[in-house]
Symmetry: none
DNA sequence: ATTTCCCTCATACTTTAGGGTGATTTGAAT
DNA sequence: ATTCAAATCACCCTAAAGTATGAGGGAAAT
């Protein structure tokens, strides 16, 4: 119990012990002064040296180290994950939600029929959407549409 | 001359002055001890306090500031990533130079006829190349081929 | 010398894509 | 209430894409 306490507060404990020893040393010096006729200058010198040391030690102990924050920019290659839909372009081009959806599937390489099946719509509907998309993107073919959409960041 | 020297070594000069003043103060205390019958304990205490302070000041003055360098890695997204052809995939898929060329133009949204014109070939040749490409990429349509090629990094 | 692959082109045929037009319904805005 | 855009679907027609097959020349490897 007591040991654990001592270990936990080792620093404080050591400081106390040190002070006690120091006081004893001073007292001993004092005794020496009385018994033997030492000069007072020597005594004062010793005190000065000891407490200068103590001051230095205290300063080192008390001042927390300064922290230099060093920010290193680490370059990370990011593939596709960082896609953010370019809302501005979508609104500028007046692409509807459905059209964007079709465009997305188009970019995945699906045929119109596959897109129709996927969205539970008729082939003709997808054709209509496709035409609208091409019109709005000012392209002629689906491959161009995908290319354009990728460039404008309106598909992932 | 002398002034410049003093300015340059201001720290040392100040330290010397301080010590001189301190010694004077000690001497004055000594004088006080002789004249008036002060207790030696008070004298020692004063010395202790003064030199503890001196120690702290010295420590602060002399030791270079301790610094903990905290390294923070900041991730920076680099999206430039100028295209590097994945040679390994190209050889693995046994794509010929011509096929890669056609695939590239295909990805740019050109029709087979446009590709033919661009490469000074007949439409049928491009169709043959296209078929071969689809076969090797294991896809059915050009859009899928482009998608796959992009994924495999064999086109820019 | 033979094989193999690439590149080229051709014919015939099927499938898919795309253009044009029009109609209906629904929901939101004016 | 009317207008407007979005979404849906249909029909017709043309263009483009894709499949299958074959064939000939050339270059490189075995």
């Amino acid at each position: 119990m007591i040991f654990k306490f001592l270990i936990r507060n080792r620093s404080v404990f050591l400081y106390g012990i040190s002070l006690a020893i120091l006081l004893l040393f001073i007292k001993w010096l004092e005794w020496r002064l009385i018994v033997i006729d030492y000069t007072i200058e020597l005594y004062v010198g010793a005190i000065a040296v000891i407490f200068t040391g103590l001051g230095i030690w205290l300063a080192k102990k008390l001042t927390q180290p300064r922290t230099n924050t060093l920010v290193i920019e680490k370059q990370v290659l990011v593939k596709t994950e960082h896609f953010v839909l370019n809302e501005a372009e979508v609104t500028r081009l007046r692409l509807s939600k459905r059209e964007l959806e079709v465009l997305q599937l188009m970019a995945e390489g699906l045929s119109n029929l596959q897109i129709a099946d996927r969205l539970f719509l008729s082939l003709d509907t997808i054709k209509t959407h496709s035409s609208k998309i091409f019109e709005k993107l000012e392209v002629q073919r689906r491959t161009q549409a995908v290319e354009m959409a990728r460039k404008l960041n309106i598909i992932s």
